[in-house]
């Protein structure tokens, strides 16, 4: 939307507040129209692509998740057996690593930073995260630029960063997420009648009074603070956009059916509760995509230091990965691996949930690109090699799936770079220092 369009919209709103009639038909937001100007859902034309990340901490057991076969027609290995029903729509990515370039590696931090920001920070993150870059391309027209959730109970578990200094906090409660997305501010796209709420118009108008002062305020602060203040104004514009969307009649969406507010399991680190809440999150997020509330989502199943535990035990998943001895017969740490099993099952459930919402001939999963990844190749030693990564979903036909891609020590950034290219982000290379790449994984791209 150009500045001119913004300004004229604001003026129109102000004019309306000055006394014009309430139910003026506002112009249809053009994001729902194709080139011919006809409503997308009405003609059944292509629905927008969605992107999401799905993260878990402490990796998987090396040797038990990489498929034996490289390329097409692979079979899921033991630890990822739960994903077998979707193997044709999944690309398994093994053998990718992080290059440190002499910098220190912080366990449960460096791995995911490299994958999501293309960088190994010395202290704090230096860049926006992958999902944020993609949201700039595909997420500018929805009510929510992106939605972040976490299973382990802290809003700071989120890995989604708008910029070096702006973290998008994650929802910890499914019930709260539901209220946020489908609560009082939700405009049902299939509702028969629609009237712009005058209270929302008023809110929108006074908010303009805040953003109008941007130029003046930015002049008053120093250079570094200008960046932060501008980030604040960017955030306020997001809110303005949400209100704009609330004032528009949304295009009808067949797949956007009614849902009910869930009841949370106890928020915390007990694995059964985390799994239960994750299921609720999955359902709400899938519906959010179907109802076009967002195109970008970020799921932290458990934060990087995996504090998951069974009720009544002292040991967390993380501690077990370090201290549990490897079972001689089995060849892995059985108690730690229990958690990996639950994690993979939950990922499978997530895919199943996306696949469960039919849209015309396909499902939500068909138009989604999901990057599921961890942060270490072997948690016991904090290895940064062979970090498990999966790409799942159809991405609206923009990628090929059903392959095991085995890299020989290639940088993890090739994955994020490939995804950006697939989704139309105009990027020629991505990543810093040895993580910089300009080589997409061509097998995946159409």
């Amino acid at each position: 939307m150009s500045a001119l369009q913004r300004a004229s919209r604001r003026t129109m709103l102000r004019g309306m507040l000055g006394g014009a009639a309430v139910s003026v038909a506002l112009p249809f937001l053009d994001c729902f129209l194709n080139e011919n100007g006809t409503a997308l859902a009405a003609t059944g034309a292509q629905l927008p692509v969605a992107f999401g990340t799905w993260f878990w901490g402490c990796g998987l057991n090396p040797g038990r998740w990489e498929p034996a076969v490289v390329g097409k027609n692979y079979d899921m290995n033991i630890e990822t057996a739960a994903l077998a029903p979707y193997k044709d729509r999944i690309n398994v990515l093994s053998g990718f690593k992080v290059f440190l370039d002499g910098k220190g590696a912080r366990p449960h931090f460096t791995g995911e930073m490299a994958i999501l920001t293309g960088d190994v920070p010395r202290e704090s993150p230096n860049f926006a995260s992958l999902d944020s870059i993609i949201a700039d391309t595909i997420g500018t027209r929805t009510r929510f630029r992106s939605l972040e959730v976490t299973g382990t109970g802290k809003p700071t578990d989120s890995l989604s960063r708008r910029s070096a200094s702006v973290l998008n906090p994650a929802e910890i409660s499914p019930a709260a997420l539901y209220t946020r997305v489908f609560g009082p501010d939700f405009r049902d796209p299939n509702a028969a009648d629609f009237k712009p709420d005058p209270r929302v118009m008023v809110r929108r108008s006074v908010l303009s009074g805040v953003t109008d002062q941007r130029e003046a305020l930015l002049k008053q602060v120093g250079a570094a603070d200008r960046v932060r203040l501008d980030e604040y104004f960017t955030a306020v514009r997001q809110l303005e956009q949400q209100l704009d969307i609330q004032l528009q009649k949304p295009a009808p969406l067949e797949a956007c059916t009614a849902t009910t507010q869930p009841t949370d399991a106890e928020v915390g680190t007990v694995i059964d509760n985390v799994v239960a809440n994750h299921k609720l999150f999955a359902q709400i997020l899938a519906h959010a995509i179907a109802c076009d509330q967002t195109h970008v989502f970020n799921v932290v199943f458990g934060e990087a230091t995996s504090p998951l535990r069974r009720a009544g035990t002292a040991m967390t998943h993380h501690i077990l990965t370090h201290e549990e001895p490897t079972d001689e017969k089995l060849g892995y740490q059985p108690q730690a691996s229990y958690f990996m099993g639950r994690i993979v099952e939950s990922l499978a459930f997530y895919l199943q949930t996306l696949d469960g919402i039919k849209e015309g001939d396909g499902t939500v999963l068909d138009r989604t690109l999901l990057l599921a990844h961890s942060e270490t190749g072997f948690a016991k030693i904090h290895s940064l090699e062979n970090i498990p990564m999966f790409i799942a979903g159809g991405a609206g036909g923009r990628i090929k799936t059903g392959m095991h891609i085995e890299a020989k020590g290639e940088p993890v950034t090739r994955v994020g770079f490939t995804i950006q290219q697939a989704l139309g982000v105009p990027v020629e290379n991505w990543g810093t220092m040895s993580l910089n790449t300009s080589k997409p994984i061509s097998e995946i791209l159409i």
């Binding site: 102000r14 809003p155 998008n168």
Partner: protein
């Protein structure tokens, strides 16, 4: 009573910045080394500050609904993180929700009689005069300075338009107040620098910025009417005027709020929100215990440092604390007071002395199901000694660690033996484990135990060359550690200015450390000295971001503590 309802009866001064009347002299208020100052800061309000401000401005009956964008810790303090963070889209959504909730209450029929200083001519129509009165008065407290003409006009216009659209004067106020509470002028503590008339070519904070720094430092809230008036009159630019306000504020019971806010930050109490203990292993621990535990430590501290003007270092050896019955059940202490707090003094020789053995330290720095000497040792160093413990290296070859077939080391000391005996691990673990092991008698919930798995617990160890034989020896070692008061001075200063100190300020800090020691390590005196110093208000446009050389952890004590076990 709130700032608003009390000021409703007063007429305040003219809008606009007061001209600073520079009196004779260099403007230097003390004998301390001269500093160049750091950058002007832009600090986002923390959640506790936000809540305190609403309570002070609108009164405690106003509920603050909604959630807050998480505060971020930097260089050991959330206060420093405030200079680094901005607001995400989700955050603005949340601020907006909270702002609407507050605004709705402020103008409701119950509150409008005290909080809105006038009545409109017609409640169903705009009334610019009354709106202007409310907005300028409220805005002064919310923006921590009088509104500019532009700001006032914009808000009054919006209030009028909203009132017209919705047919209700108070709805107009409500929407405008809501916008003000989302405005950067409220959410961010903006500072302004003006040329220092006493030092040509240099700068200092303008009067309102001074008032702001002062008020947040000493009382952790927005400047009250008297402080704003002093700023307006130019009093804060004179030694006498500044001293008067600082004395007023240091001698006020509200100093305790500032001290509490500081220690809540320094001790990392925000970590409690995510802290979980396994109820089957520690049935005594629950969220009420966690709340009481924080309050216990804050009372211990304010009693010693503020009420009794004691020696800061004594917080590590003090036998006096405050308990509720609930805490008594965790510590194993009888508490006579049925509901509420009572003072309790442990006997000489009782290892439960010191804030270091209190639940707020030992439980905060432990796992859900067991204690953690490594985490506790790291916390002692980082929190109280300002020492940085390096992160563990990546890709450590753990194949060197024996894969023991009998993993049941019975005590933590035995379990951690593997760390100490491996050269790659020993380097850092030698710094952390022996310190944390001194507190092993206290389990993950804070209860005392003498054995673990039926093996006796011993608490001997060493910290920076000082050996100790037990917990009591350990807390004395921390008490005597030369870095202990130095760290406090640095932290307190950083808390006040919202950044790490610059190289240029090193001499000044040394001076403050010496004053602190010479004066018996009294914290209110230290706060007074800082608050009346020129250094506290000196700003330098060229200082830029040199001040920040910080580690930027995303989640307080959370992620990295866990990672390092």
């Amino acid at each position: 009573m709130s700032y608003l309802s009390s000021s409703a009866r007063r007429t305040l001064g003219a809008v606009g910045f007061a001209a600073a009347a520079a009196l004779a002299g260099c403007g230097q208020h003390d004998d301390a080394p001269v500093t160049k100052g750091g950058p002007v800061s832009l600090r986002r309000l923390t959640e506790p500050e936000y809540r305190q401000i609403i309570a002070d401005v609108f009164g405690t009956t106003i509920k603050v609904p909604g959630r807050f964008e998480p505060d971020v810790r930097d260089n050991g303090l959330i206060a420093v993180g405030t200079s680094k963070v901005s607001v995400a889209g989700t955050g603005i959504e949340e601020y907006d929700l909270t702002a609407r909730g507050i605004a709705a209450q402020v103008v409701d029929e119950v509150h409008r009689t005290t909080l809105v200083p006038c009545t409109p001519a017609k409640a169903t129509q705009p009334d610019d005069a009354c709106a202007s009165k409310f907005i300028s008065q409220t805005g002064k407290y919310l923006f921590r300075r009088p509104l500019t003409q532009t700001e006032l006009q914009t808000f009054v216009k919006d209030a009028g338009e909203s009132a017209g659209k919705l047919g209700n004067f108070y709805s107009g106020l409500e929407n405008t107040l809501s916008a003000m509470l989302v405005s950067p002028q409220f959410l961010f503590r903006e500072e302004a620098a003006v040329p220092d008339p006493d030092h040509s070519g240099q700068q200092r904070l303008d009067a309102y910025s001074k008032a702001s720094r002062l008020s947040f430092f000493l009382w952790d809230t927005t400047p009250d009417a008297e402080l704003l008036a002093a700023a307006e009159k130019g009093d804060l630019d004179t030694k006498a005027g500044l001293d008067k306000q600082v004395d007023r504020m240091v001698n006020s019971p509200r100093l305790a709020s500032g001290v509490r806010a500081f220690f809540t930050d320094m001790l990392g109490f925000d970590g409690f929100t995510a802290l979980a203990k396994d109820p089957t292993i520690y049935p005594k621990y629950n969220s009420q215990v966690a709340a009481d535990a924080q309050e216990q430590t804050l009372r211990t501290l304010t009693d010693l440092l503020v009420t009794n003007k004691g020696d800061y270092r004594d917080i590590f050896t003090t036998r006096k604390t405050y308990l509720t019955r609930l805490l008594g059940s965790v510590y194993g202490v009888p508490v006579k007071t049925q509901a509420g707090w009572e003072a309790h003094v442990y006997d000489e020789g009782d290892p439960r002395a010191s804030i270091l053995t209190e639940i707020s330290f030992v439980a905060l720095h432990s796992h859900p199901g067991r204690s953690s000497p490594t985490i506790r040792g790291k916390a002692v160093r980082q929190v109280f000694l300002c020492q940085k413990v390096p992160d563990p290296p990546g890709n450590v070859k753990f194949t060197m660690v024996q894969d023991t077939h009998n993993p049941n080391f019975r005590t933590a000391r035995a379990r951690l033996g593997a760390h100490i005996n491996q050269p790659t691990c020993a380097g850092c673990h030698k710094i952390m484990d022996p310190v944390g092991l001194a507190m092993e008698n206290f389990d993950s919930a804070g209860s005392f135990r003498s054995t673990e798995n039926d093996a006796p617990i011993t608490t001997e160890g060493e910290i920076d060359g000082i050996k100790f034989g037990d917990t009591l020896g350990f807390i004395k070692a921390v008490h005597d550690h030369p870095q202990t008061p130095v760290c406090l001075v640095n932290r307190l200063y950083s808390f006040g200015v919202g950044r790490g100190s610059t190289k240029d300020e090193a001499d000044w800090l040394n001076y403050q450390e010496k004053q602190f020691a010479d004066g018996g390590f009294k914290v209110p005196d230290l706060m007074r000295r800082i608050a009346t110093s020129s250094a506290f208000y000196r700003v330098s446009a060229s200082a830029g971001n040199e001040a920040s050389n910080a580690s930027f952890s995303m989640a307080g004590n959370g992620n990295q503590m866990e990672a390092s076990k």
